[in-house]
Symmetry: C2
Subunit: 256 residues, 2 copies
Amino acid sequence: MSRDRGRGERDDAGVSTTRKTFAILETLADADGVTITELTRRTEFTKSTVYRHLTTLVDLGYVVERDGAYDVGFRFLEISEQARTRRRGYTAAKRSVFELGKETDERAVFIVEEEYEGVYVHRYGSLSDTMIGKRRPLHSLASGKVILSEWDDDTVADFVATAGLDAITDNTITDPDALAAELERIRDRGYAVNNEEHMDGLRSVAVPVYTPDDDLLGALSVFGPTSRFTDEYVHDALPNRLRDKAGEIRVTLAYG
Amino acid sequence: MSRDRGRGERDDAGVSTTRKTFAILETLADADGVTITELTRRTEFTKSTVYRHLTTLVDLGYVVERDGAYDVGFRFLEISEQARTRRRGYTAAKRSVFELGKETDERAVFIVEEEYEGVYVHRYGSLSDTMIGKRRPLHSLASGKVILSEWDDDTVADFVATAGLDAITDNTITDPDALAAELERIRDRGYAVNNEEHMDGLRSVAVPVYTPDDDLLGALSVFGPTSRFTDEYVHDALPNRLRDKAGEIRVTLAYG
DNA sequence: AATGAATGTTCCGAATAATAAAACAGAATC
DNA sequence: GATTCTGTTTTATTATTCGGAACATTCATT
């Protein structure tokens, strides 16, 4: 079901040393404040290899060392912020997410598509569980479905073929025809609803965000527990609020 | 005056292939939507080298390709967010910066020290000019001086020795004794003021942010044009507001 | 259509640089 | 004070990166 050739699977192509560096880096990012020997244990490399790569990364400033423990540093923030501000609308969305979250007192997110995945770019919510930067299957998210609903049939078909429609929960849409029907419904309504398709007990609503030239920028979404997210709330109150905020972003881009 | 051995200068040590990868990556981040030949022009490498490195990065998902043009992707957001949430207080500060900015209608930032530099971690303000991830000399920032004022004399001396006190504007403190006096004043007052020491026409105020265990987390700061940032505003109204917000972060960490 | 000038991609031998393993140093633990 | 962890350095061997050139492809121009 999943795409034949995933990320990093063509381990023959390109620069294998670079692959090692990033493998070490990713392991380091997962762990927290880890030592060289611990990193060696968690990777498939020898100690001297890990040592040398880590030394290089520290010298470059991407990894920081604090009393023997290593951590990914803020240098990556410089690069990731570049991606985050590639389009002016992304920055505008940041504020909208925050206001939306504060006003509704719900968790709010702004999601963008990259490589057929939904990426959390901005978020308002609890202190823990930041989600930012995390990537999720488009078809299991309200925001993801909103984005899919903007694509033509061929692109959606290609998405289904390469990314697949894996079941995340019992409610996840796994049938291409059912997906097509759902996308049509979203186009009609102007908003998408997620009914525990990504996580049990979680519902969400999402609307598309457009630029002044009517290009799709991403999706704005609010989510919460089924207990609070009643049909009335999800289909009445929230869509309008979300549409307002999406509209504000558009206006900000045009005149602000 | 600057430190003898800067970032990436020991180009003999470690993995030189990794250095190449990041050199290409940084060039790519600076440029926007750039082609392989253009990248070749901007770096000191041959086309086939750039090609191979870029192919690897695309395969790993760190670089994305859109109709011939390459860009840094959101995959870095995953890593940088790791750094940004290393301490719970960083996340708490995010909300405070936003609220502070909204309430005062000024630009607000949360700054943290890394490798003797001030790193902008959170920010509220204009759409363009995000600053996030950018690194600045500590002694030229109100927030930087606040952080320095928390260190003991030996550490400050080491900072001065390695990072130096370069003049950024005419007002920048470049004398170690003057710095020591200023830090003492900050410790007395509980807040720091920046009087066009980092940029002409810009004043700012900053306070330290502590954890419930009284560890220094970073600095909270507000900045704006000299015209609006009068002595009264800078020394009366703002310090109290900032202290309140810093206190809120502490309380959030303790009980929230 | 045909030409030309870009670009992106592949191939290859030569040279370099990464590697593993082991030895060393230093710290912490008991 | 011995032992067992770490982190660091060294070395010969091996594997990989590298640059250059050749090839393929796209695009613009006529």
